[in-house]
C-alpha cells in the first residue's frame, strides 16, 4: 500500500465519519420527534405512565452502566443513589408546596436537586465503596445498600416509615400554562431530562476521565503506571453516576408524588442491574434498550399473568446463557453485515426458526400457566379461563396435551432449524470479513 493509498484511505475514513455523524444527528432528531409524538400515538393513561417509567428507568440504567460497563464495577447497591435523590426531591417538593414558594418551574429543576442528592451520597459513600474493585466492591456495595435501606425505617421524619413521603407536584404559578398536573406534561419533563442526562453521560465517556474509567476497568495496575490513581477514577465515576441516578430518582418523585423506603432497597438495585445487563453493558445504548424492555415486561406482563416474574427470570437466564453481551451485542453483530447488504442471506434462516420458536414459547407458557392454575397458589380456583375466545379448562387433558406437543415438537424443530442459522451465520461472517478487506484495498 503506497502513501497515497493511505492518504486516500484516511480521507475516505474522514468522509465516512462525517457521514456517520450526519446520519447520527438525523437519527437523533428523528428519535426526539418520535418521543414527542408518542403521547399522541398512545394517549391512554396506562401507556403514558408506562412511557414515563421507561424514561426514568433509562436514565437510571445508563447511570448504572457508568459503573458496570465503563468502569468495571459490579454494584448491588445502586438504588441508594436513586432513592436518596428521590427523597431529596420529594422533601423539596413538599417544602416548596407548603411554603407556597416557587411553582411549576421548581418542578422543572427538581430532578437536578435529586441529582445533587445522589452526588452527595456518592461523595459520602463512594470513599468507602470504591476502595477496592472486583468482588470486594460488589460485596461492599451490597453491604452499603442494605445498610442505607435498613436505616430508612429508623428515621420516619426523613423517610416516612412504611407509608413513605408523599407530596403534590401541582402548586404555585404555572410555567407558560404548564402545571405538571396532567401526566402528559410530566412525560415531556421526563423526556427532556432523559435526553439531557443521556447526552451528558455520552459526552462523559469521551472525556479524559471517561477514557481512564475504561483503562481502570481493563487494567487498574497499568493505570497507576501512567500516573493515575485507580481508586480516584472509580470514586469520581461512582459520584457522577450517583448524580445521574439521583436525577432519575428526582423524576420518579415528580412522577409518582411518593417515595418509600423500598426505593432504596435491593430489589431496585437488582432491577437496574438486570436492565443494564439484558440491554448490553458493552455499548452505550445497551442499557436504554434494557430499561425500556424490562420496564415493559415488568409492567405489561404483570397485567396478564401472575407468573410474570418467572418468565422474566427465564428470559434473563436465556440472555445470560445465549447472549451475554445483551441485546446490544446482537445489534452490533448485525451491523457490519447489514452495511454490506449481507443480512438478506440470513433472513430465510431466521424465518425458518420463527414458527418453531413461537411454538416452543407458546408450549412453555401454556405449561407454566396450567401448573400455576392447578398448583393452588395465587390463581387457585381459577382453573378455567378464556384464550382467543376459547375456554381453556386446566383440569382437562386437552390443554396439557396441546402445550406438551407444542413444546416438544417446537423444541425439536427449533433445534433443527437453529443449526441452519448458525451455519449460515458463519458464511455471512466470512463474507463480511472479505467485504471489509475488499473495501480497504480500494
Amino acid at each position: 500500500m503506497s502513501g497515497a493509498d493511505v492518504a486516500n484511505g484516511a480521507i475516505a475514513k474522514q468522509a465516512a465519519a462525517a457521514a456517520a455523524n450526519g446520519s447520527a444527528l438525523w437519527a437523533g432528531l428523528a428519535g426526539i420527534a418520535a418521543l414527542i409524538a408518542l403521547p399522541f400515538v398512545f394517549p391512554q393513561g396506562f401507556a403514558l405512565s408506562l412511557m414515563c417509567q421507561m424514561g426514568i428507568a433509562t436514565i437510571f440504567a445508563l447511570s448504572y452502566n457508568m459503573l458496570l460497563g465503563q468502569t468495571g464495577l459490579l454494584s448491588f447497591g445502586h438504588a441508594v443513589y436513586f432513592g436518596l435523590g428521590a427523597f431529596c426531591a420529594i422533601h423539596l417538593m413538599r417544602w416548596t408546596g407548603s411554603a407556597r414558594t416557587g411553582g411549576a418551574w421548581t418542578i422543572v429543576v427538581l430532578p437536578l436537586i435529586g441529582g445533587l442528592g445522589g452526588l452527595a451520597a456518592g461523595l459520602i459513600l463512594g470513599g468507602v465503596t470504591t476502595r477496592r474493585a472486583g468482588t470486594i466492591f460488589a460485596m461492599i456495595s451490597l453491604g452499603v445498600g442494605e445498610m442505607v435501606a435498613s436505616i430508612a425505617p429508623m428515621f420516619p421524619a426523613l423517610f416516612g416509615g412504611e407509608a413513605g413521603i408523599s407530596a403534590n407536584r401541582v402548586f404555585g404559578a404555572p410555567l407558560f400554562g404548564i402545571t405538571f398536573g396532567p401526566q402528559r406534561q410530566v412525560y415531556y419533563l421526563i423526556v427532556g431530562w432523559a435526553i439531557v442526562a443521556a447526552l451528558g453521560m455520552r459526552a462523559l465517556t469521551k472525556t479524559p476521565l471517561g477514557r481512564m474509567a475504561n483503562a481502570v476497568r481493563d487494567n487498574p495496575e497499568r493505570a497507576q503506571f501512567v500516573g493515575y490513581n485507580p481508586q480516584r477514577v472509580r470514586f469520581l465515576m461512582l459520584t457522577l453516576s450517583g448524580f445521574f441516578a439521583g436525577i432519575a430518582g428526582g423524576l420518579s418523585a415528580v412522577n409518582y408524588e411518593i417515595v418509600t423506603g423500598e426505593t432504596l432497597g435491593a430489589q431496585t438495585s437488582a432491577l437496574v442491574l438486570l436492565m443494564a445487563f439484558i440491554g448490553g453493558i458493552g455499548q452505550f445504548y445497551g442499557p436504554i434498550i434494557g430499561a425500556v424492555l424490562v420496564t415493559f415486561l415488568q409492567t405489561a406482563l404483570s397485567q396478564y399473568t401472575h407468573a410474570w416474574l418467572f418468565y422474566f427470570g427465564l428470559f434473563f437466564l436465556f440472555m445470560v446463557l445465549k447472549a451475554p453481551g445483551g441485546i446490544a451485542s446482537l445489534v452490533e453483530l448485525h451491523r457490519d453485515p447489514w452495511r454490506l447488504g449481507l443480512t438478506r442471506w440470513i433472513w430465510p434462516q431466521y424465518g425458518a426458526v420463527l414458527i418453531p420458536a413461537l411454538a416452543t414459547v407458546a408450549g412453555l407458557i401454556g405449561l407454566v400457566e396450567l401448573v400455576y392454575r392447578i398448583a393452588g397458589g395465587v390463581d387457585a380456583g381459577e382453573t378455567s379461563w378464556r384464550l382467543f375466545g376459547h375456554a381453556v379448562v386446566a383440569t382437562s387433558w386437552v390443554p396439557w396435551a396441546t402445550a406438551i406437543v407444542l413444546l416438544v415438537a417446537g423444541g425439536w424443530l427449533l433445534a433443527k432449524t437453529w443449526s441452519g442459522v448458525l451455519c449460515q451465520w458463519k458464511t455471512v461472517l466470512r463474507a463480511t470479513a472479505r467485504g471489509d478487506a475488499g473495501e480497504t484495498r480500494k
Binding site: G210, R217, Q224, V226, Y228, L236
Partner: protein, 268 residues
Amino acid sequence: MSGQHARAAVLTLSGVNKSFGRTEIIRGVDLDLIEGERHALIGPNGAGKSTLFNLMSGRLHPSSGTIALRGVDITRSSPQAINRMGLARSFQVTNLFHRMTAFENLRCAASWSLGARYMFWRPIDSLPEVNARAGEVLDAVGLARRRDVAASELTYAEQRALEIGVTIACGADVILLDEPTAGMSRSETEAAVALIRRVTEGRTLVMVEHDMDVVFGLADRVSVLVYGRVIASGSPDAIHADAKVQEAYLGTELGTELGTGPAKAQQH
C-alpha cells in the same frame, strides 16, 4: 567512575534490600543511574532484576534502604506518584488496556502529564497536546495503520511495541524497560532496538535484557545482578572483560553468551 559522576545521578538506590518472608531477593543494592545514559541490567534468571524494577517503580517497596529520584525520596511512594515525577516503566508480560484501541492506550498514557488528569468537563478530542503526543508515539512505534485496533487484537510484536509506546507516551524522562525484546524473532528484535534507540533519545533508559546483542549494542553502561547483589557495573567492554562477571556466569547460558558473542546467532 568520577567522569560519570560529573553528570547528575537521576535515580539513586542506597543499600536496598527486599525480602519475601525469609527469602532475600535483593541484598544491599547500591546503584546510581546517570542522566541521559542507557543502562542495561543483566544477570541470570532469579537474580532479582524484575524485583529491582518493581522497587524502582513503586510496585513493591524495599524492606530496607532508600531510593531517590532526582534527590527526592520515593522509597515508599505509590506507582502513580513516581510516574508523575517522571519515571515510566514497561512490563515483561504485556500489560495494556486490552479492550481499548492502540491510539486510546496511548492517549490514556499521555493524559496525566499533559494536564488532562481527571478532567470530565472537556472531551479528550479537544485536547491538542494529548492527541498530538499519542499520534507521534503511534507513528514512532510503527502502529499508525493499526490505530483503531483493540490492544488485545494486535500481534505479539505489535503489543510489545505498544507496551513501549505506552511507557514513553507518559512523557517521563526516566524509562524502565523490562525485557522489551522477550519472545521476539531476530528481525523483530532489530526493529525493537532501533525503536528503543529512537524513542529514548535524550532520556535516561534502564532496561532488563537477556539478549546480549541488544545489551552490548544499546547500553552505555551495564550492571550485573547476581543473587540480589550488583557484582559489577561499568562500560560494556569493561563488563565483558570483568573476571568476577566471567566467574559468576561460568557454565551458565549467559556465560557462553558473554564468552562467545551473539547468542541468537548460535540459536538460529
